[in-house]
């Protein structure tokens, strides 16, 4: 029987600094107290250095519930473009970096990754001035989500016609995602030519390809969509909303607020059937067109041990991680 040549111990080591890089630049005077990411570090870690928009350091809390974390500290570099993050991970200058969805497939087999459940809803959101439901429905019927999923996203995440992902609701399959160009064209034919032109804005450059693909699909239905980055005057936006709860009623309420949809009454979200009804109500009229549910993906250096450092919702769970330094 051969003895394994790998030199690593199963039991956690104390000490070391976890170096994390993120794209977001949080330029507040104080560190964030809520939302995904840094706020998740508390109370196992306490912030000891805060330079808004640049970097933050969190140190292990001796009195943390469940015992002091194994890591001595966590250093977070903000405002790091995705490409720089990938390079820093490759050069071992970072331990945990965000991976853009397009980056995930590259060298994935050799790369250590943490992948959450699909918790990022990618959707189209119309501004109130696009008041004719026919144009919204025509666009919904023209989008080939499967092509986007297969080609642009390399099958990461899930195609959806629902706001809540299947793993949270259990009924997302009840919301179909049909492509019906014939019906879309007939709806567009009822519109005046000026009404057939729309401006689509996307906030994250990583989604430019998806926005352009939607414009191509829309053209097949007779719509003329121009695509631009962070266009405040756009008629519709390609938005990403991060789901913050695995509880379906809470998640639906959160999404409705984030997407400027009427929030369903809390007492009408008790059972799965009530949730389906509420979600159908929110999507009626095509004010929002759900497209995809995507995971949060981190690239992780080989020296980071202790299992997956994020929850299914993508929350940071660094208290059980440790650093395995190279052995003599």
């Amino acid at each position: 029987v051969a003895i394994a040549a790998v030199s690593a111990a199963t039991r956690p080591h104390y000490g070391g600094t976890l170096r994390v890089e993120i794209q977001e630049s949080i330029e507040t005077p104080d560190p964030p107290q809520s939302g995904p990411g840094m706020a998740d570090l508390s109370p196992a870690f306490s912030v000891t250095r805060w330079e808004g928009g640049r970097q933050a350091t969190y140190s292990a809390n001796n009195e943390a519930h469940g015992g002091r974390p194994f890591l001595e500290s966590v250093e977070i570099q903000m405002n790091r473009p995705p490409r720089d993050q990938a390079i820093d991970l490759e050069l071992r200058r970072a331990d945990v970096v965000e991976l853009a969805i397009g980056e995930v497939g590259r060298g994935a087999a050799a790369r250590k990754m943490w992948v959450s459940a699909p918790v990022r809803l990618l959707a189209l959101q119309f501004t109130p001035r696009v008041s004719d439901p026919r144009i919204r429905e025509a666009l919904a019927l023209s989008i080939d989500r499967n092509a986007i999923h297969n080609v642009l996203l390399q099958r990461r995440g899930e195609v959806t016609g629902a706001l809540l992902p299947q793993w949270i609701s259990g009924y997302a399959f009840l919301f179909p995602t049909p492509v019906d160009l014939a019906k879309a064209r007939s709806l567009v034919a009822e519109l005046t030519p000026p009404a057939r032109a729309l401006a689509l804005s996307y906030d994250d450059p990583a989604f430019r390809n998806i926005a352009e693909r939607i414009a191509v699909n829309a053209r097949d239905a007779g719509l003329a969509i121009s695509v631009g980055l962070r266009n405040a005057a756009a008629d519709l936006r390609l938005v990403e909303v991060r789901i913050a709860s695995a509880d379906p009623s809470r998640a639906l309420a959160q999404l409705s607020v984030a997407l400027a949809l009427p929030e369903p009454p809390a007492d009408a979200l008790g059972s799965p059937e009530e949730l389906v009804n509420a979600e159908r109500g929110l999507l009626e009229g095509f004010r929002v067109i759900p497209l995809l549910h995507l995971p949060v993906v981190y690239g992780v250096a080989p020296r980071v041990k202790g299992g997956v450092g994020i929850s299914p919702l993508g929350e940071w769970r660094f208290e059980n991680l440790w650093i395995e330094e190279s052995r003599p």
Binding site: V1, T10, F70, F173
Partner: protein
């Protein structure tokens, strides 16, 4: 297709069912009220349950709805699905232009708490629980399970282990995140060693006293050889200060676990050190060799396999990977495997000698997150 789907009417809900059969009966009742005639049913499974779970649901519904003769006017698709807290049975029924959706649900059941099963490779599961298990010991009819915050004493009954007492361990400071603990049982007397705390009492007595203590732990190897070692109270390792059986005090590197091995050349101590190696020390505690590639938990056994007594060794790896335990002996301070690895479903979180031929291994099951205690028994060949 979209237009039809959007016409689906989701009817008001009813309370969650108790089980799949109850959910199926509820579905059948609603379907009958809608159709009043034969229904063609199709089934699919989107859940993590095996497809075989659809069998009883199908039988329940078909029995209530009857088997359609020719082409029935109503078609219904039944989907077994799930979310994080419930299983869902979703029925989409269509009769002409009319459509309905019903959803029945039942709570996801927690797996059974304790089980006992005989496994291959002399690897016997003796206990399973949600809370970490630091050590398990046996004495006569008793089984003692040590968790970070309590000591549970069970007695053997015909139906399995029955809980007799639970002693809560009050701590003035939190235990380390990777807590360690050791049970030493002599007859009915029990000593519990935790980070910075020692408790003692008897299995049948009323009192069980705990106090803060920096006393060294007694590390044995299922035989006569003992080592006293100081445990670092706020960490998960011994600090390297040891007392040998002849009373001499020695200082070595910090280590996670230790085992005595009787080689042909005499006694050696193995220390699984925090640097990831296992160091071999002579009986006078001189470092004589290093063994790479073992995990951080080792346990010596008192029995002999050939010329030497064996040591059980975990595999190196991460806490997100399955683990295994393998028996080795030493020949000239070089490890010689004497068994195949016994696979475990998650990382080993504790490994302590139990008898001269057995050890307790605790692993955290990667699928369920539960802690499972096994008795690993080594039977050496003739």
């Amino acid at each position: 297709v979209a237009a039809v789907a959007l016409l689906f009417l989701v009817v008001p809900s009813s309370p969650a069912a108790d089980d799949p059969a109850g959910a199926a009966r509820e579905m059948a009742r609603k379907t009958l009220a809608f159709t009043r005639g034969p229904v063609s049913l199709t089934f699919r499974n989107f859940s993590s349950l095996p497809d075989s779970q659809l069998g009883p649901i199908r039988r329940e519904m078909e029995s209530a709805l009857g088997t359609p003769d020719a082409t029935p006017p109503t078609e219904a698709r039944v989907t077994l699905s799930e979310n994080s807290s419930e299983y869902l049975l979703v029925e989409e029924a269509r009769r002409g232009d009319e459509s309905r959706v019903w959803i029945a649900s039942w709570k996801r059941a927690a797996p059974a708490n304790a089980m006992a099963a005989e496994a291959a490779l002399d690897n016997r599961l003796v206990w399973e629980q949600d809370e970490p298990i630091l050590d398990v010991a046996f004495s006569g009819e008793w089984m003692i399970v040590l968790a970070p915050s309590r000591i549970a004493i069970y007695s053997q009954q015909a139906s399995g282990w029955a809980l007799r007492r639970t002693i809560v361990v009050e701590l003035s400071h939190p235990l380390p995140r990777d807590p360690r603990g050791r049970l030493r049982v002599t007859g009915t007397r029990v000593q519990v060693l935790l980070s910075g705390v020692i408790c003692s009492g008897t299995l049948d007595g009323e009192k069980f006293a705990c106090q803060e203590s920096s006393e060294p732990w007694v590390l044995d190897s299922g035989g006569r050889d003992l080592l006293l070692a100081s445990f670092s109270a706020s960490r998960n390792y011994f600090d390297g200060h040891v007392v040998l059986q002849n009373g001499s005090r020695k200082t070595g590197p910090p280590f996670y676990s230790a085992a005595a091995v009787q080689e042909a050349s005499g006694l050696s101590w193995l220390l699984a050190t925090v640097d990831g190696n296992t160091r071999v020390f002579s009986s006078s505690f001189d470092s004589v060799a290093s063994i790479p590639g073992w995990g951080s938990d080792i346990a010596g056994l008192g029995t002999r396999c050939g010329e030497a007594n064996p040591v059980l060794v975990t595999r190196p790896g991460d806490t997100s990977e399955p683990d295994s335990v393998q028996a080795f002996t030493l020949a000239n301070h070089t490890p010689v495997p004497v068994s195949s690895p016994a696979p475990l479903s998650g990382p080993v979180t504790a490994l302590w000698p139990l008898t001269s031929t057995s050890a307790v291994a605790v692993s955290r099951d990667l699928a369920t997150g539960k802690y499972r205690a096994y008795v690993l028994t080594l039977r050496c060949g003739p």
